[in-house]
């Protein structure tokens, strides 16, 4: 297989990591809304951790992006 198409395919596959991050973000915000519905007074102290968690999960997706960029450099 030629290296350019292979690297393009690899970059696309690296984007599959977004799925995991999507699941993670869904969990975070879904559980957060559930928690706030049960305990509205917890919204203040908890929302800080939600944003931190969201940023962590988002970073996981971005590792996939970095991987894609690395593949982009190796190909061609």
């Amino acid at each position: 297989m030629e290296s350019l198409p292979a690297s393009l395919i690899g970059m696309g596959l690296a984007a599959a990591g977004l799925g995991g991050a999507g699941v993670g973000l869904g969990f975070i915000f879904g559980k957060a809304i559930e928690a706030f519905a049960r305990q509205p007074s917890a919204e203040g102290p908890l929302s800080k951790y939600i944003w931190i968690g969201a940023a962590f999960v988002e970073a996981i997706a971005l590792y996939g992006l970095v991987l894609a960029f690395i593949i982009m450099g190796k190909g061609g």
């Binding site: 690395i70 450099g73 190796k74």
Partner: protein, 190 residues
């Protein structure tokens, strides 16, 4: 200069194309490592020298100011309480003084009334006694006068008797007359 730099860098970028992202180009790493350290420590020094002490000072000043104010307010409250207690005591004392003065005045008035009453009584008694003495004297004087009159009368009668050598009838009549006169004068006195 900058445009030239961009042009040359673009050429270099094309050459180093295999590295993909521009961030992975290792030719510019050394200077960035150096300047990251330098920039970070310059910022650290500047903030530590000029900014953080200022913020700390002002925060501490505010904290101590607030503590001071609270302390002052507490002291003020205590002072006010003390003053109030003081005032309360003074009020009680004044009330007691007033009550005492009232009592004294009442007693004074009673005593003065008593005294006046007594004096009046004495005066009245004295006047009454004086009047009684006067009456007695007048009575005495009147009796004295009556006696004098009687004596004079008897003297006159005796004179006439002696002068005229009057009869018995005459004599008894004259005595009767004299007695009647005396009785009249006595009636006049009473």
């Amino acid at each position: 200069m900058i445009t030239e730099a961009y042009a040359s860098a673009g050429a270099a970028g094309k050459e180093a194309a295999a590295s993909g992202l521009p961030q992975f180009e290792s030719s510019v790493f050394a200077s960035q490592i150096f300047w990251t350290f330098v920039s970070f420590f310059i910022l650290l020094m500047l903030l530590r020298k000029y900014v953080l002490p200022a913020i700390e000072t002002i925060l501490d000043a505010r904290a101590s100011r607030i503590a001071d104010e609270i302390q002052k307010a507490e002291a003020g409250r205590k002072e006010a309480e003390r003053l109030q207690a003081n005032f309360q005591g003074q009020l009680v004392a004044a009330r007691q003084t007033a009550a005492k003065m009232m009592e004294e005045a009442r007693l004074d008035a009673a005593r003065m009334k008593e005294q006046a009453h007594e004096e009046l009584q004495q005066e009245l008694t004295k006047k009454k006694n004086a009047a009684l003495v006067e009456i007695e004297q007048a009575k005495h004087k009147a009796m004295e006068e009556v006696r004098t009159v009687a004596v004079e009368l008897s003297m006159q009668v005796a004179e006439k008797l002696i002068v005229k050598s009057m009869s018995d009838e005459d004599a008894s009549r004259m005595v009767q007359e004299a007695l009647t006169n005396l009785g009249e004068s006595q009636a006049q006195l009473h």
